[in-house]
C-alpha cells in the first residue's frame, strides 16, 4: 500500500485516506482559449513510465490538496510539497536525483 506524506497534517498517510487527482502543474485555461489548449488541459497527459508529479487529496483527513513525486514503475515516493507551487521545488528534485542518477528533471 502507498504511504504518502501530507504536508498539511505533517504525517504519513495510508493510500486509503487519500485520493489521487492526476498530473500536477497543468496549466489551467480560461474560456477564451483554443480547442487545442482545452484539450491539453482536460485530456492530454504525460503518463510517464518513471518519475511523475501528481496531485493528491487527503480526503479522510484535512481534506486539502498537495503535490507528490512518485515513480510509476516502482511506486517509490520521493516526498510531498505544497499545492501552491507552480513547479516542483528544488529540494524534491534533489531528493529524486540522489536515488535516480539518470533523472532528467521536470518537463512541462
Amino acid at each position: 500500500m502507498l504511504n504518502i506524506y501530507c504536508p498539511i497534517c505533517q504525517r504519513d498517510c495510508d493510500e486509503t485516506e487519500l485520493s489521487c487527482g492526476g498530473q500536477a502543474h497543468l496549466i489551467r485555461r480560461d474560456h477564451a482559449s483554443s480547442d487545442k489548449n482545452f484539450y491539453e488541459y482536460l485530456y492530454e497527459r504525460k503518463n510517464d513510465k518513471g518519475i511523475i508529479f501528481e496531485r493528491w487529496r487527503h480526503v479522510y483527513g484535512c481534506g486539502k490538496w498537495f503535490h507528490t513525486a512518485r515513480c510509476t514503475l516502482t511506486n517509490q515516493v520521493f516526498g510531498s510539497y505544497s499545492a501552491k507551487e507552480v513547479q516542483p521545488p528544488k529540494s524534491i528534485l534533489a531528493t529524486i536525483r540522489r536515488s535516480r542518477v539518470d533523472f532528467k528533471g521536470w518537463v512541462k
Partner: protein, 415 residues
C-alpha cells in the same frame, strides 16, 4: 501449416504426438517491411491478420517486446459482451462479438468461445434506469439483450442473494449471446494464422525509437536493430504513451493497474457471467472450476503490473455479500495488467500527428471482447490510410472537438 482436425488428432495419437508443428514461427526481423505492428497482443495480431485476410497484405512484422499475449490479452477475465449504450460503441463491439462466434472455425484454432450469457445487475434505482435505457438502445441497434426481473435473476443464478441488505438486486440486463473465450487461445490462434500468411512475428524485441523524416514515419529502432517501414501502427495498450513519447506526441491516456484473481477450483456453481457494477465486482467460473473474479482499477497512474491489495479486498468483500456461498473459498492466484484509460473510457483507433503512423489503444479495462472487431477496423484504416465506418468515431480528434463517446455510465466497472 498443418490443419488441426479430428483426423489430425487421431493420426498424431498413433505417432506419439511427435508430428505437431510449432504453432507459429519465431521470426527474425528483415531490413524492411511495408507495415510494422508494434505490440503482439490480441489487437496487434488481429490487425495483422485482417490486413492479410481482407486486404492481401502480408509484408508485415508484428514486434513484441515480451512474448505473444503476455500483456493484457493474457491477463484479462475474458468477458465478451456488446450491450453498450452509444451507437458507435455498439457498432464495433457487436461486430467483434459476432466475429467471435465463428472465430474458432475461421482460425482453425479452438478459442473456446462460450456464449454462456452475461448478466449485468442493477442494485440501485439509478442503475436500473440506466440499464433500461441501455436495453432500449440495444434494441434499436439490433443487439439482443433484455431486462429481467429479480426472480428471473435468481433463476438464472441460483447462488445469488437478491435481498441485499445494502444492495438488493432490482433487476438485470441480460445478454444471452455474451460470454467468455480462452484468452491465450485468441492470441495464439491469430499468431498461428499470421505466421501461416507469412507475417513475421518477432518476440523479445522492444521498440525503443521511432524514425521519422519530415514528420513522416520511415521505420522503428528496436533492440534487434533498425527496421524500415512505410506504415507503422502502435498497438501497445498500457505502454501507448511511452511509444507516443518516442514519436514526439502525447496521448489522452493514463495507465493504471487492473487486477483479477481466481479462487481454488470447485464444482460448477455458476454457468453465466455476472457483473455487479454498483459494488464493483464480477464473477464467472472457468472450465477448471476456478471462480474468475475482477474488480476496479487502481486510482492512480501505475506501470507496476501488480496493483494494490486494497482493491482485491474491496472486490471480494462486495462479491461475498452478493454470493454468500463463496465466503469460505481461498484465493489461488492474483495478477495485474496495465490498462490504458482515456478520458471518456472509449478506445482510440486513429491516425496520429506523424504521417504513416497509426494507433490503436485506449481499450482500458474492456478490450478483450473487442479484439476481432478492432483488428478488422484497424486493418481497414491502415490499408485505406483513413478510418472506415467502424473506426472513424474513435479518432483522437474527438477529445478536442468535444465528440466524446461517453460509455463510462454504461460500463461503470472494469471488465
Amino acid at each position: 501449416m498443418k490443419r488441426y482436425s479430428l483426423s489430425s488428432i487421431f493420426t498424431e495419437a498413433f505417432k506419439d504426438n511427435l508430428g505437431w508443428e510449432k504453432a507459429w514461427t519465431k521470426g527474425q526481423p528483415k531490413k524492411e517491411y511495408q507495415i510494422i505492428i508494434v505490440g503482439g497482443g490480441g489487437h496487434g495480431l488481429a490487425t495483422a491478420y485482417y490486413l492479410a485476410k481482407n486486404f492481401n497484405v502480408t509484408d508485415i512484422a508484428v514486434i513484441e517486446k515480451g512474448w505473444i499475449g503476455g500483456g493484457n490479452t493474457g491477463r484479462n477475465t475474458t468477458i465478451i459482451r456488446s450491450n453498450y449504450l452509444q451507437e458507435s460503441s455498439i457498432g464495433i463491439y457487436e461486430k467483434s462479438r459476432s466475429l467471435y462466434e465463428t472465430l474458432s472455425q475461421d482460425l482453425n484454432y479452438n478459442i473456446m468461445f462460450s456464449p454462456r450469457g452475461v448478466l449485468m445487475l442493477c442494485q440501485t434505482e439509478h442503475e436500473l434506469r440506466a440499464m433500461k435505457r441501455t436495453s432500449h438502445a440495444n434494441r434499436i441497434n439490433g443487439v439482443d439483450t433484455k431486462m429481467v426481473a429479480p426472480e428471473e435473476v435468481k433463476e438464472i443464478v441460483p447462488i445469488i442473494n437478491i435481498n441485499g441488505p445494502r444492495f438488493p438486486v432490482l433487476g438485470a440486463l441480460w445478454q444471452p449471446r455474451g460470454g467468455t473465450a480462452r484468452h491465450d487461445a485468441v492470441a495464439w490462434g491469430y499468431a498461428r494464422k499470421c505466421s501461416d500468411f507469412g507475417i513475421d512475428i518477432i518476440e523479445q524485441c522492444e521498440v525503443i525509437g521511432v524514425k521519422k523524416k519530415r514528420e513522416k514515419i520511415v521505420g522503428v529502432e528496436t533492440t534487434k536493430g533498425n527496421i524500415k517501414a512505410k506504415k507503422v501502427c502502435f498497438v501497445a495498450a498500457g505502454h501507448s504513451s511511452v511509444l507516443a513519447d518516442l514519436a514526439g506526441f502525447r496521448l489522452p491516456i493514463e495507465s493504471v493497474a487492473l487486477q483479477a484473481l481466481v479462487s481454488e477450483p470447485i464444482k460448477p456453481i455458476i454457468d453465466c457471467v455476472v457483473m455487479a457494477n454498483t459494488v464493483h465486482g464480477y464473477l464467472s467460473q472457468s472450465d477448471k472450476g476456478e471462480l474468475v473474479i475482477g474488480g476496479g482499477a487502481d486510482g492512480y497512474n501505475n506501470y507496476s503490473q501488480r496493483g494494490s491489495f486494497l482493491h482485491v479486498e474491496e472486490t471480494v468483500r462486495a462479491l461475498v455479500e452478493t454470493f454468500p456461498v463463496i465466503s469460505r473459498l481461498r484465493q489461488l492466484r492474483q495478477w495485474g495488467g496495465i490498462v490504458d484509460m482515456t478520458g471518456d473510457r472509449s478506445p482510440i483507433i486513429s491516425k496520429t500527428p506523424v504521417d504513416g503512423l497509426y494507433i490503436n489503444c485506449g481499450w482500458g479495462t474492456g478490450g478483450f471482447k473487442a479484439i476481432p472487431g478492432s483488428g478488422w477496423a484497424t486493418a481497414e484504416m491502415i490499408y485505406n490510410e483513413q478510418p472506415g465506418k467502424l473506426a472513424s468515431p474513435f479518432s483522437i480528434d474527438r477529445f478536442s472537438e468535444g465528440r466524446l463517446i461517453d460509455e463510462s455510465a454504461a460500463a461503470a466497472v472494469a471488465h
